[in-house]
Symmetry: C2
Subunit: 208 residues, 2 copies
């Protein structure tokens, strides 16, 4: 079985427990068995069409069932949430989404800009704020320079908001910057296969 998440910048694959990604602007070169289907979750219809021209794909979106009141939740967020029974899910990519699950119910979530975007934003406010971020800041020390003041200003508010929502719930991180943020949450879990676990759950529900 081969699973594929199609995002804005990459195709992410999982096959036999192996996870890899390829850039979105080329069609992935895959070794599949004859007639093998790629199960897909996509937020990028152009890239989906490109994959479908070369391979047999099966879009799982119509089968995504997440108990939520949230209107307009991205299918990638919904599927990752399906992999979690109770906890706070932080997906740290070009945007950082934070979603709260309790007993398989999605209670809501929020969206914070990704780390790279912040750096652009400060530079746009003032040339004096055009500084390289210090990713090794200590949240317990108050910043004493512009570079630290900016780094703290990006990272600490997110951490405090997540801590406040999590209380005693587990924190699960995924996405490109997930491992980075995990250092700030004691006992947190980094799991880059979360969306694939959600996809497997949907497929198991088919009861072949």
């Amino acid at each position: 079985m081969i699973l594929c998440e199609i995002g804005n910048t990459h195709y992410h694959f999982m096959q036999s427990g192996r996870i890899w990604k390829t850039a979105i602007n080329s069609t992935p070169d895959l070794k599949l068995e004859k007639g093998e289907t790629i199960y897909v979750v996509s937020v990028n219809s152009d890239a989906t069409r490109r994959l479908a021209r070369r391979y047999q794909i099966f879009d799982l979106e119509p089968f995504v069932k997440l108990d939520t009141l949230y209107y307009g939740l991205g299918v990638d967020r919904a599927v990752a949430c399906m992999a979690i029974e109770t906890g706070v899910l932080v997906d740290a990519g070009s945007a950082i989404t934070v979603d709260i699950m309790r007993d398989n119910v999605h209670l809501g979530g929020f969206i914070y800009p990704g780390l790279v975007r912040f750096q652009h934003m400060y530079a746009q406010i003032s040339p004096r704020l055009q500084k390289a971020m210090n990713f090794s800041i200590d949240l317990e020390c108050l910043p004493q320079s512009t570079a630290d003041a900016i780094s703290y200003g990006v990272i600490t508010p997110l951490i405090r908001a997540v801590e406040r929502l999590a209380r005693n719930k587990p924190i699960i991180l995924t996405g490109g910057d997930g491992a980075y943020f995990s250092r700030f949450f004691e006992g947190s879990i980094v799991d880059n296969s979360l969306i694939f676990k959600g996809m497997e759950k949907i497929i198991k529900g088919f009861e072949f």
Copy 2:
């Protein structure tokens, strides 16, 4: 006595307790007594020169004395901090600066982007995130839509970071969005004359 803070977008004046601002791209038209000096704190040297061509100005910057280890603190931030003995100062403008004072010592601070910048940034991440912010969100309710998820993602992290730093210290807000943010901090104070109070403190130190 007339006081003027020269920022990136406006001249801010205080005279006889009255506060007003004028756009930075024109020279202010002031009614002064003959030989009257304008006391100035400036982060904008072009605008300062323009004012100095028409009026007699006295730059207070060399007399700013703030007990701090912070390297590169903007003069406007430093002067506003001088007006506070103990507390957390939030100056919410095109950038949002948060500074912590204890017994007239500046313990450090951080910089968060201003509200307007965030809206641009979300739109740059994805057209799906191009939403008008909902400024009337309730921080105790988890967002159930993209617009609320973005609004919560901008506002709540800042609030949580400030709360955490403030503990039992007073929170004092200033700047264009200071009054807006005050609703989230029970017992907080909005004071748009803070920088002028700092300037008056410096001038009093001259002991005429």
